[in-house]
């Protein structure tokens, strides 16, 4: 055991815990109960820190030909040291903010935080508890690696499911609305799982994970790992089931959850569009929101009766055709000037374009056409079968979103495996070589921009129909960044990855203006988005569900080397430092 390293990590732990307290996260998150009387989200985050740091710190770096110290009692002690140092530091911090009133400068370092961090106990008792809790959490974190791998993974699965059930409270309650008995067993009166249900969920899922270990990855391999050809029967069946699920689920779910899913699907649509630009063609576009704005404003101007200057009052579908044309023009307008630029310059120029569009829409100059800060109101919904469907009835509206996401998925897949998709991949890896081998990079780049623009304009058209008003507020740079996070987290170039990314991030954390499943997050979601972006780039730049083609590219050399080194051919996905983007 390395004492110096332990103290060092302990100080980091203390700093992180103080930080979480200092920005008011503990106080805010404590409004959400995870397991009814015993665990709130704030404490889960607070004590999650020492646990995770101890867990990471006890990881052994395996180097070729170097003896590794086996896991043992040393790790437990190491965890305890981390916990002790971190806990004492956090306790001292609590003592400090209790003694000195800093609220004038740091509004969150006041009595509420002190109370939450001392568990509403007497100050010194609370501080003792805080140290104790930190030590326990860190010690558990250090002990985890002593447990045999299979058991460990099952326990982790159990924990994940408990958390998932706690987070998905809203959805589960919505689905089982017809059977109150179920929800009453699972969830407590004032939110959160009951102790009994948490135990049951934990045991059942851990046991299932122990029994069917590896089953999920085999299944996933079957579903995702295969190329578009040669899908086996079970795969088709699974796809069919997913399809039926997508059609049926909105009917089962209530308005709130459908509303959430509409948001998710809008971001899914934009994520898929940006995935074509960034993931497939390798062009980092930070002004993607401009196309979203083009879609929304074109639809608004063409359909709304209250549009200031032009108001042809077209139907939504008629407007959509014009919107597509406008998006193509916008894609070319943005794409052409930046075609000779590479990498980072492209990013900053597209960011500039996005801001220019927003500023122009907001300005008094174009106010007679786009309404300036007031935006355009009174956009009718989507007209179909003589009906107007808008965001008022999300249960119907979501089907349009699903339809367009379906189109986006189809387009993405067809492009990915087409000549154009291969041209993009070649261009992404090395533009000069691609050009030398006969890829028309100008056309390929423009096509990427245009396709992405059209998909984003669909999202814009849907959004304006859903909300009924468009404001410039909805189109600031945050939107671009959040879509970028969705694509990065899912995996650049991976279509299922982007969809899952949108579902998880937008669903749980929420979009730039819309709340997610956990309203408690809203204050901190951009902080969390930033953190996710950093961690993903450092640890797993290929994303959570990397695209098959990219993984092959990334790990080609490792594969051959490792296959030669040991028969198992197991390679670490963490070693992705030479990721070509």
């Amino acid at each position: 055991m390395n004492l110096r390293k332990g103290v060092n990590r302990g100080l980091i732990t203390g700093l992180a815990m103080s930080f979480v307290g200092g920005i008011g996260m503990v106080t805010t998150f404590n409004n959400k109960l995870l397991i009814d009387p015993i665990l709130t989200m704030g404490y889960a985050v607070l004590f999650g820190i020492p646990f995770v740091i101890a867990l990471i710190s006890t990881k052994r770096v395996v180097l070729e030909g170097v003896e590794v110290e086996p896991h043992g009692a040393g790790d437990v002690l190491f965890g305890a040291v981390i916990g002790l140092v971190g806990g004492v530091m956090t306790a001292l911090y609590v003592l400090l903010i209790n003694a000195v009133d800093l609220t004038e400068t740091f509004p969150n370092m006041g009595p509420p935080t002190v109370q939450e961090m001392t568990f509403h106990q007497d100050l010194y008792v609370g501080m003792g508890l805080l140290v104790l809790g930190t030590v326990v959490a860190a010690t558990i974190g250090g002990t985890v690696r002593l447990i045999p791998e299979r058991v460990r993974q099952s326990l982790a699965q159990g924990l994940l499911w408990v958390l998932a059930f706690a987070f998905l409270e809203l959805i589960v309650e919505d689905i089982f609305e017809f059977a109150k008995v179920v929800t009453q067993f699972i969830y407590a009166q004032n939110g959160g799982l009951t102790v009994a249900s948490a135990t049951v969920i934990f045991i059942v899922s851990a046991a299932l994970a122990y029994r069917f270990r590896g089953g999920a990855s085999v299944l996933r391999q079957r579903l995702v790992g295969t190329d578009e050809r040669g899908r086996s029967f079970p795969t088709k069946l699974a796809l069919l089931l997913i399809g039926v699920g997508v059609v049926v689920l909105p009917m089962v779910l209530g308005g709130v959850v459908n509303e959430l899913l509409i948001n998710v699907s809008l971001f899914m649509l934009m994520g898929l569009g940006l995935n074509i630009v960034i993931g497939m063609a390798g062009l980092l576009d930070l002004g993607y929101v401009a196309f979203f704005a083009v879609g929304a404003y074109t639809t608004a101007v063409l359909t709304a009766a209250q549009s200031p200057t032009w108001n042809p009052e077209l139907g939504w579908w008629g407007a959509l055709a014009v919107t597509m044309v406008m998006a193509v023009i916008a894609g070319i307008m943005v794409g052409t000037p930046v075609i000779r630029m590479r990498g980072d310059y492209l990013a900053i120029v597209t960011l500039g374009f996005g801001e220019i569009v927003r500023i122009l829409l907001l300005s008094d100059w174009l106010k007679p056409y786009f309404g300036g800060a007031q935006g355009i109101r009174g956009i009718p919904g989507i007209n179909i079968f003589g009906q107007r469907i808008s965001g008022v009835d999300p249960q119907l509206f979501i089907y349009f979103c699903i339809f367009f996401v379906g189109i986006a998925v189809l387009v993405s897949y067809r492009l990915l495996y087409s000549r154009v998709g291969r041209a993009w991949a070649a261009m992404r890896e090395d533009e000069d070589v691609a050009e030398a081998t006969g890829v028309g990079t100008v056309g390929a780049k423009l096509l990427a921009f245009v396709t992405g623009a059209v998909l984003a304009s669909f999202a814009g058209a849907l959004m304006s129909a859903k909300i009924g008003t468009v404001f410039t507020n909805s189109f600031d740079v945050l939107v671009s960044i959040i879509i970028l996070v969705v694509v990065i987290v899912g995996g650049m170039g991976s279509i299922p990855g982007v969809m899952v990314g949108a579902l998880v991030l937008i669903g749980v954390l929420g979009g730039p203006r819309s709340p997610g499943l956990l309203a408690e997050f809203s204050q901190y979601k951009l902080l969390i988005y930033g953190m996710i972006l950093i961690v993903m780039m450092l640890k797993r730049p290929e994303g959570l569900i990397p695209s098959a083609r990219r993984s092959r590219e990334l790990h080609h050399e490792e594969l051959t080397q490792d296959a030669w080194l040991d028969k198992k051919g197991q390679f670490s996905t963490d070693q992705a430092e030479e990721v070509p983007v």
Partner: protein, 367 residues
């Protein structure tokens, strides 16, 4: 394309229509025409006595220069990091913002202690030191935590990381300091007036800003070109591996670069405080992007270029709306100030991607 087939060079070069180039030429011509028409229109307005008066123009130019000087100092950080690591440190605007926020705390404490009124020069100096050290510390921490593990990664990876860092820092400060706007205490009478230099009355704060900018640029220039550490910085920027072989501690040099960039951002933070007084957690975003534009305008990697680019951008963005857009009959031009800065960025990259003082790079290194 057909070089291998051609035996003898034909005299008439076949004209091949390339529509990307045509489009870029179209943009160039359109931009120049717009600028000329707008300029003529503004002169007409001025002659008709409708636009700002000559005195207002003079004040506008001076405040644009002082604002541009601030951009220039932030741009130094971008330029140095780009020169040494080859990526845009998107979080540099937030490094600047951290200086303004913590500087505010110091200024407020001094104000409460009564020192702000009594000895404003010393107070400003203390605030300057606080802001500089904060920005320096933040820049160094960011380098160590986020960028060092990515050394040698393809350049888009650190860029995306820096976007993450930028958001992380923004909302960290939002969490710590709250989301409200904070206002620096008002400057005492002695320095909020005007001084007359060469018959031109200049606001003291703006003069101060310009002087501080010139001084810090000179100090930085001396540091980079004359000292041992500066030489190491330039060597690492030239070639990291060889510099390492020559006995230079590459990691330490890179941290130094970030620290210097951070310190300059800290100086800029005080200028912001003098010019605008109010700060919040989003303060860094726009100046950050504009400073990047300034760095590109001056030629990225080129230090005098960064300051020159900053001043030019400040002038362009400050006077451009009134000088060009107003002449085109556009109402409320001041709203379009930021758009003008971004358009400047696009135009610079189209007209001269290597910047004003930058040398033309090979196609591999270029943009």
């Amino acid at each position: 394309m057909t070089a291998a087939v051609e035996v003898k060079p034909t005299k008439t070069r076949r004209f091949r229509f390339n529509w990307v180039d045509s489009f870029l030429w179209f943009i160039r011509v359109a931009a120049i025409i717009t600028i000329i028409v707008g300029f003529i229109g503004s002169i007409q307005l001025f002659l008709a006595g409708e636009g700002p008066t000559l005195q207002q123009w003079r004040d506008l130019v001076i405040s644009s220069i002082s604002q541009g000087a601030m951009y220039g100092l932030i741009a130094l950080g971008y330029s140095m990091v780009y020169g040494i690591l080859g990526f845009i440190n998107f979080a540099h605007g937030e490094v600047f913002m951290s200086g303004t926020m913590v500087g505010y705390v110091a200024a407020n404490l001094l104000f409460q202690a009564g020192m702000w009124e009594q000895n404003i020069v010393l107070s400003l100096f203390i605030v300057l030191i606080v802001a500089m050290s904060t920005s320096m510390l933040v820049a160094m921490l960011v380098e160590k935590a986020a960028y060092r593990p990515l050394r040698g990664a393809p350049r888009l990876i650190p860029l995306i990381t820096s976007i993450g860092v930028s958001f992380f820092l923004q909302y960290t400060f939002a969490g710590l300091f709250g989301v409200g706007v904070r206002t620096y205490p008002a400057l005492p009478e002695s320095i909020s007036g005007r001084v007359v230099i060469l018959g031109v009355p200049i606001e003291t704060t703006k003069l101060l800003v310009i002087i501080v900018a010139i001084l810090s640029t000179i100090i930085l220039w001396y540091f980079v070109t004359k000292t041992r550490t500066g030489r190491a910085v330039r060597a690492v920027a030239e070639d990291k591996e060889i510099a390492g072989l020559m006995g230079i501690n590459v990691d330490r040099t890179i941290v130094t670069t970030f620290a210097i960039g951070g310190a300059m951002a800290g100086v800029a933070a005080i200028m912001w405080a003098l010019l605008f007084r109010s700060v919040d957690f989003t303060t860094g975003f726009l100046p950050g992007i504009k400073a990047f534009t300034a760095a590109v305008l001056g030629g990225i990697g080129n230090l005098p270029g960064a300051v020159l680019g900053g001043v030019l951008l400040g002038l362009f963005e400050g006077t451009g709306p009134l000088l060009i857009l107003a002449g085109l009959g556009i109402p409320a031009v001041s709203q379009l100030k930021d758009a003008v800065a971004f358009i400047a960025l696009v135009l610079v990259l189209i007209f001269r991607p290597s910047g004003l003082l930058g040398e033309r790079l090979g196609s591999e290194d270029r943009v």
